[in-house]
């Protein structure tokens, strides 16, 4: 399990735009670099990120090798109901990680 850091407010007013910052530990190996022995380091990327909230994918991202290691993805969403936001990262070599963060909407 890679370390992930999600920063977002714990509470929000209904209709308020909430800023979300996500960080995840991942080398995002491009497949273009060579190791010390000269052989190419195999590509190992996170390909996709999604945020599901209140029954819908409210944000998603398709990532390519040009995204830096330990990717930061920052976006926003409208606070609708109290509940969980589910964040998923999927990538090469079966990489799949899910984090859930609760929000209370008043």
């Amino acid at each position: 399990m890679a370390r992930a850091l999600i920063t977002m407010p714990a509470t929000a007013q209904k209709g308020e735009v909430v800023e979300i910052r996500t960080l995840i530990a991942h080398p995002m190996e491009t497949g273009y670099r060579r190791g010390d022995e000269g052989s190419v380091l195999p590509r190992n990327l996170i390909r996709r990120f999604t945020c599901v909230y209140d029954g819908e994918t409210v944000f998603s991202a398709e990532l390519h090798p040009a995204i830096a290691a330990n990717p930061l993805i920052a976006f926003s969403t409208v606070a609708t109901v109290s509940g969980m936001l589910t964040f998923t990262w999927d990538g090469d070599n079966g990489f799949a990680q899910t984090e859930r963060v609760a929000i209370t909407v008043t």
């Binding site: 370390r3 992930a4 850091l5 920063t7 910052r21 960080l23 995840i24 530990a25 080398p27 995002m28 830096a68 290691a69 330990n70 930061l72 920052a74």
Partner: protein, 279 residues
């Protein structure tokens, strides 16, 4: 986050002592750090020492100061998990003996490297963490530069963030500090350069595209963009040694520990920034 050391009289005195020898070797009038002794003695408020933070672009400084986007925080958070995880035959976690790190480890990293009586030699923070694992947790030591070792080091050092670097006044450290200073001044490698030449005499000037920092270890383990990962001061020192085409000292070698002790004394009073971001 405040970056610059306060120009207190205490710092000025220490500065004068530390830089007296450096000043004697100064060749370049341009070396900011070299003239620190005179400046510090005459105008205590004008400590010319600067963290590498100050030379960074606004974007990188913002990256370091925002815990939500500082990649080094991934290691700090990992370290927090490791702090609380039972490991080793003794069935303990760090927390079992130390309790909550925010109180127990506050200021600790700022006082490392420190002399370890049992081992009868100085330890860096990482070595001390390993010693704890072996002696008290009956766990395996962690491999140098492993994510686990970096994470624990980052988490413990994070508890000193904002505190001034405060090397212990332990006289047992003095021979090692002197050895570190000797190594700092020694020309090495095919390129035949000593640390002092770039980092004291030419600090603030440019080497290719980059500004030469004064090389104060204020934020280790740092997240270095060049590494795309967190890394220790020793990794950075070894990188510099490779840069002058010298054979790098092995991790945890006496030489690297001595250099860490010297650099900590040289940076005394500057604030801990862990986890720092550097290009």
């Amino acid at each position: 986050m405040k970056r610059l050391a306060a120009g207190a009289c205490g710092v000025a005195v220490v500065g004068a002592l530390v830089w007296a020898a450096v000043d004697a070797l100064a060749a370049q009038a341009e070396g900011v750090v070299v003239n620190a002794a005179e400046k510090a003695a005459s105008t205590p408020a004008a400590d010319p020492r600067r963290s590498g933070f100050d030379a960074m672009t606004a974007e990188l400084r913002a990256m370091q100061q925002d815990d939500a986007s500082n990649p080094g925080m991934l290691w700090v958070k990992d370290g927090e998990a490791l702090w609380n995880r039972v490991d080793g035959a003794a069935g303990k976690s760090c927390a079992s003996c130390h309790g909550v790190a925010t109180t127990a480890m506050r200021g600790v990293a700022a006082r490392y490297p420190a002399f370890d009586t049992v081992a009868a030699r100085p330890f860096t923070l990482a070595q001390r963490i390993d010693a704890c694992r072996v002696r008290h947790q009956q766990a395996e030591p962690l491999r140098a530069e492993s994510d686990a070792r970096l994470a624990l080091e980052a988490f413990v050092a994070f508890q000193s963030r904002g505190q001034p670097i405060a090397p212990p006044g332990d006289p047992r450290l003095e021979p090692f500090r002197a050895e570190g200073e000797r190594l700092y001044r020694q020309r090495i490698g095919q390129i035949d350069l000593a640390c002092v030449q770039c980092h004291d005499e030419h600090a603030g000037q440019r080497l290719a595209g980059s500004t030469i920092p004064q090389a104060h270890p204020t934020g280790y383990p740092i997240y270095r963009l060049e590494w795309q990962s967190a890394g220790s001061l020793q990794r950075r020192l070894r990188g510099c040694m490779s840069g002058v085409r010298a054979e790098p000292y092995p991790y945890d070698s006496q030489e690297l520990v001595a250099l860490e002790i010297y650099l900590a004394k040289r940076a005394e009073g500057l604030k801990v920034e862990t986890p720092a971001v550097r290009p």
